[in-house]
């Protein structure tokens, strides 16, 4: 069941640091990201409804 190529790609993929993982869960940072991502998504949505 081994998929040698994909396993090797996964094994060499960048691993997030502890700091990055904390940032992904930090409520203050994530609230800011929530607003930023929604803004990006609204931009895409506006293109459809122009």
């Amino acid at each position: 069941m081994h998929d040698t190529d994909t396993d090797a790609d996964i094994a060499s993929a960048p691993l997030p640091t502890a700091k990055t993982l904390r940032a992904r869960k930090n409520l203050f940072i994530q609230f800011g990201r929530f607003l930023a991502i929604n803004t990006k998504m609204l931009k895409i949505i506006r293109k459809e409804h122009r």
């Binding site: 069941m1 998929d3 190529d5 994909t6 396993d7 790609d9 996964i10 094994a11 993929a13 960048p14 691993l15 997030p16 993982l21 940032a23 992904r24 869960k25 930090n26 409520l27 940072i29 994530q30 609230f31 990201r33 929530f34 991502i37 929604n38 990006k40 998504m41 931009k43 895409i44 949505i45 293109k47 459809e48 409804h49």
Partner: protein
């Protein structure tokens, strides 16, 4: 007075029907034909499939909504279209077979002036022997399937709590499946649940996919900028697999599923088997079993439908190699060329070709993700059909129809990677356009400004907000139409 019949009550059909009630005169009629009595917010089936939500949190009865909105509702399965009418019908009509308990099996004929085919997919479990809830694997395609998947997953978790090792396989049940994003979401939600249950060390989670490489998602992968560099969804996705310890088998076509074992062929032609304790494998889609007949009763299904059962619209269906694919091949109004009063939207329209490069194994097996056209694109197409039908009713031959090609349409996707207001996470992505256009965007085919990806708790909040917002919209609560598709 015009009569518009909408076949299908999913995202595309329901969106079209609700907008039609807003855009047409009171004297016009809007009719919905769908075999299901419930509407289902399918993206949240992922959470039903891990036991985090109940069926009634992702579904609601369509009947009361349609009664309130003045929509004529037929709980029935459309079986044939007669776009020219016949000897006994001057107008075009649709044959239907009722599915509600009071009229089960009864035949009906519904005349129309305009028809919206939003019948969605037929879940083609039969394409792979042993696939699906009636076979040896689970599915999350319907809320009922998801309930079964949650129960099976819980059994595996209980076994792990007793110290038993379990192999959990999540992915695609055929080489031509679509919706890789949903399988991706389910794999990471399973991993999240197993971790929360404190038995992660006893679970071997394997993602089995027809994608050539991780991060393809059936759209040929994405390229976006991150911290001053261009990066790919492949690298980004592989990073998440590494972080969460999920293994992956790519470029696989599942040939059969037996009790506890899945057989598959890979793009290099090798044949392998994978033993499992729990499997959730999505089926391939095909068009629903709908036929078409001309005024004399001759079968014209081949003219209206592609061999995969999806309806042919204003696309360029000329067979050509990947290198010659163009953005212009994709449909823009979703009208059937010979019958411009018929629209096919959402999954029901036949795409001209895949978005990802199609590949074959040395044995000739096609292993090629089909193009995704669910969610946001489906809703946009549904609204487009409603807008154009209203315009055609108002202005007849001088009507100016609007367009919405997937090659000029963006999509916002949120792929859940675990639920919980504090512990959840999701991959948030946008892409523009969905179908790459190498003429407008040389190199990657998409706008680097409008294509991005990010992982974090914020994505989970967005997915949860979308869940409540779209159910509110689908229930046609006050101001529903202000919520974009």
């Amino acid at each position: 007075m015009a009569r518009v019949v909408v076949l299908g009550g999913g995202i595309a059909g329901h969106t079209a029907a609700l907008h039609l009630t807003r855009m047409l005169k009171r004297s016009d009629e809007v009719v919905v034909v769908t075999p299901n009595s419930n509407w289902n917010w399918i993206p949240s089936n992922i959470w039903v499939g891990v036991g985090k939500m109940k069926t009634d949190q992702v579904t609601f009865k369509l009947g009361p909504i349609y009664k309130r909105k003045g929509i004529e509702f037929h709980q029935a399965l459309a079986t044939a279209i007669h776009p020219e009418g016949d000897v006994s019908h001057a107008r075009p009509f649709v044959d239907v077979s009722y599915t509600d308990s009071t009229r089960a099996g009864e035949h009906g004929e519904l005349e129309y002036d305009y028809l919206v085919n939003a019948t969605g997919p037929k879940l083609n479990f039969g394409a792979t022997p042993g696939l699906g809830p009636d076979g040896h694997s689970n599915s999350v395609c319907t809320s009922g399937h998801a309930v079964g998947a949650a129960a099976a997953l819980q059994e595996s978790i209980e076994k792990m709590k007793k110290g038993e090792h379990q192999v959990l396989v999540v992915g695609m049940g055929h080489g031509t499946c679509t919706c890789e994003g949903a399988a991706f979401e389910y794999a990471f939600n399973v991993e999240h649940e197993v971790r929360q249950a404190g038995v992660r060390d006893l679970a071997d989670i394997v993602y089995l996919t027809n994608e050539y490489e991780l991060g393809d998602f059936g759209v040929g992968g994405l390229t976006f900028t991150q911290q001053g560099f261009q990066t790919t969804s492949k690298l980004w996705t592989e990073s998440l697999f590494r972080e969460r310890g999920i293994r992956a088998i790519t470029g696989a076509h599942v040939t059969g599923v037996e009790e506890g074992v899945v057989h598959y062929e890979k793009l290099d032609g090798s044949i392998s088997s994978l033993f499992f304790d729990f499997a959730m494998l999505l089926p391939p889609f095909r068009g629903v079993d709908l036929k078409a007949f001309d005024a004399d009763g001759a079968d014209i299904s081949d003219e209206l439908f592609a061999p995969n059962g999806f309806m042919k619209v204003d696309a360029d269906y000329t067979a050509k190699p990947f290198e010659e694919w163009r953005a212009e091949d994709w449909p823009s109004t979703y009208q059937v060329p010979r019958f411009p009063n018929i629209f096919a939207v959402g999954i029901a329209f036949a795409p001209p070709h895949q978005i990802s490069r199609p590949r074959k194994s040395p044995n000739g097996t096609v292993i090629a993700p089909s193009p995704p056209r669910t969610g946001m694109p489906s809703g946009i197409m549904g609204k487009l059909a409603a807008t154009n039908i209203a315009e055609m009713i108002r202005n007849g031959a001088t009507a100016q129809v609007r367009t919405a090609s997937m090659a000029d349409m963006g999509a916002a996707c949120v792929a859940s990677a675990g639920s919980g207001l504090r512990l959840g996470s999701a991959a948030s992505m946008t892409m523009y356009p969905v179908v790459p256009d190498l003429v407008r965007y040389p190199g990657t085919g998409r706008s680097l400004k409008d294509t991005f990806g990010e992982i974090g708790l914020a994505g989970h909040w967005i997915k949860l907000a979308l869940h409540y917002m779209f159910i509110y919209k689908a229930k046609a609560r006050p101001g529903w139409h202000l919520i974009p598709e």
